[in-house]
């Protein structure tokens, strides 16, 4: 659910269906672990994990869209606007170094 492949390790990171973690990580061998937002292991076999990916998955929430997906570049700046505007309200955030 809301799955993202780590571009360097190839492990998948997703919001767990049962919310345990709430991050579920599956490595390329299929070993699974559950982690909290800081990458601390909560359950499962998998040990090594990328805490920054866990933070990204958790802050993005279980469903697409909403404020967490709103881009500073694409969002029209009207006050009180809701997510759901037709133009891409999604994340752009170029890297924020």
């Amino acid at each position: 659910m809301r799955r993202l492949t780590h571009p360097l390790t190839g492990a998948t990171y997703e919001w767990a269906e049962d919310g345990v973690g709430p991050v579920k990580v599956t490595d390329r061998q299929g070993v699974v672990g559950r982690f909290d937002r800081d990458g601390v292991r909560v359950a499962g076999e998998l040990v090594p994990v990328d805490p920054e990916m866990c933070r990204w998955i958790v802050s993005g929430g279980p469903v697409a869209g909403g404020a967490a997906a709103r881009s500073r570049r694409f969002a029209a700046p009207a006050a009180g606007e809701s997510a759901g505007d037709p133009v891409p309200q999604t994340a752009s955030h170029g890297a924020q170094p």
Binding site: R3, L8, A64, A67, A69, S92, G94, A95
Partner: protein, 455 residues
């Protein structure tokens, strides 16, 4: 100055080569390519940790350097005041007249027994001290002294509020406590030229969040001066972010990085499709509904540019057609020594970093989104303050996905401070190119705060 050729990393396309493929003419300033060779020396760690360094900064840096106090839009009407605090000092900015020359700055202190004249921003008719009632006009002339018979030694014409140098650029109010400082224009150098196509005075503050971070202000700032950390701190960006293709430039008191978006990082060992690059840039997950679809033969950069162009059209009108892909897509971040970070093009970001009051072990990181607008200027967004334990994601309603990116940055900052307090090293190691802007900062810092005083 140029870097030795052997220091140039194998990073695929250079940023200049990427500009060659732009669909529009690229502004001349994008073609400036000015790396700096400032040596390879470590940065003394004591500079981040010691109270002496902080005291030296107060005396040698903050009391003499041009620094941003606020935005002009925070004082739109005659009588508006703003309190700017830096380390242990406080300044009062007052709008005494309409127009660009209508602002003044004073030390925020009553000339009687010294009470701060104002505790917070607000609109007033005159500047009356709340302790015994000494009162000055907005333009600083002494107006009243209660029981003036008791002050035969106060000559009103010699008792005006002392002025502090103030000037404006880009809608920012700068001040300088040093009466002998060079002009702001001389200090800023090329900065206005970099921003001619994106006038920041024609923006309004769409979001404003300030957060306390338990680390020295320089450490926090340095985490926002390079794209070198993206590979580890923001790995989700890599399919659509050319971190190692970034260009780093140094100009006097100003430096910049331009990092291309919509292209894959050369550091990942596979080649994402254009759709994957776009999805990464938009945080579309593998099972999310698509937001934008790259058509046959299209590119992620084109799609990002088109989306940015349509978002900007209501504010900028047909002028958006003149903007090149790089202006619409790439991350372009600028640093004005010592602590201001306006982003170029239409990125909208502005950061400022300061010590948290007189505490050298904690910092205020301030973020404003400066958005273009059409018609009447919208009022600036109110400032939201987050404490050290409140994460950036608490501000996701106003900062959107940016708050989530800061959450990743924040994960490291206190830990850097802790690590430096424990390290066996005496210096911080910096890379030659990708961390050259941090080195440039320290190069300037050493001119302002000589070494003997900062260690």
């Amino acid at each position: 100055m140029t870097l030795p050729e052997q220091l140039r990393p194998p990073r695929g396309l250079t940023y200049q080569e990427l500009l060659d493929a732009d669909s529009h003419t690229v502004p001349e300033t994008y073609r400036w390519n000015v790396p700096a060779d400032l040596g390879l020396a470590d940065i003394p760690i004591s500079r981040y940790l010691s109270r002496e360094a902080h005291e030296a900064e107060k005396e040698r840096l903050w009391s003499r350097v041009w620094q941003i106090a606020c935005r002009e839009e925070q004082l739109p009407e005659v009588g508006d005041t703003f309190v700017y605090d830096i380390a242990d000092r406080s300044f009062l900015i007052v709008r005494h007249a309409p127009g660009p020359d209508g602002l003044r700055a004073y030390p925020n202190a009553c000339l009687h027994r010294g009470r701060a004249l104002r505790d917070a921003p607000g609109r007033v008719a005159e500047l009356q001290c709340s302790f015994h009632g000494f009162c000055w006009s907005l333009s600083g002339e002494l107006e009243r002294v209660p029981s003036s018979w008791d002050f035969p030694h106060v000559e009103p014409e010699k008792f005006s509020l002392p002025r502090v140098q103030l000037d404006t650029w880009g809608g920012f109010v700068f001040l300088n406590p040093d009466p002998n400082a060079e002009s702001l224009a001389a200090y800023l150098g090329v900065l206005p030229e970099l921003f001619t196509r994106w006038p920041l005075d024609q923006r309004y503050t769409r979001a404003h969040v300030t957060k306390v971070i338990n680390a020295n202000w320089k450490l926090v700032q340095e985490a926002f001066m390079e794209s070198y950390h993206v590979v580890t701190t923001h790995p989700q960006l890599l399919p659509g972010f050319g971190d190692a293709n970034s260009q780093y430039d140094i100009f006097g008191n100003v430096s910049r990085t331009i990092s291309p978006r919509g292209v894959a990082s050369p550091l990942i060992g596979w080649r994402p499709t254009e759709q994957q690059a776009l999805d990464s840039a938009l945080d579309v997950r593998e099972d999310d509904p698509p937001v934008l679809v790259v058509p046959e033969g299209g590119t992620a950069r084109q799609m990002l540019a088109e989306a940015a162009r349509s978002a900007l059209r209501p504010a900028l009108g047909d002028a958006v057609e003149e903007l090149c892909d790089a202006e619409l897509v790439d991350s372009y971040f600028v640093n004005v020594f010592p602590n201001a970070h306006p982003w170029g093009a239409f990125n909208q970001i502005f950061y400022r970093f300061r010590p948290n009051g007189d505490d050298h072990r904690s910092a205020l990181m301030e973020v404003q989104l400066l958005a273009p607008f059409a018609g009447e200027r919208p009022p600036p967004a109110p400032e939201i303050r987050l404490g050290p334990d409140e994460p950036w994601r608490d501000a996701v309603e106003v900062l959107g996905s940016l708050a989530r990116v800061f959450d990743q940055d924040e994960f490291n900052l206190e830990a850097v401070q802790r690590g430096l307090q424990s390290t066996a090293r005496t210096g911080v190691l910096l890379s030659a190119y990708q961390e050259s802007r941090i080195r440039h900062f320290h190069h300037l810092y050493e001119q302002w705060v000589p070494a003997g005083e900062s260690r």
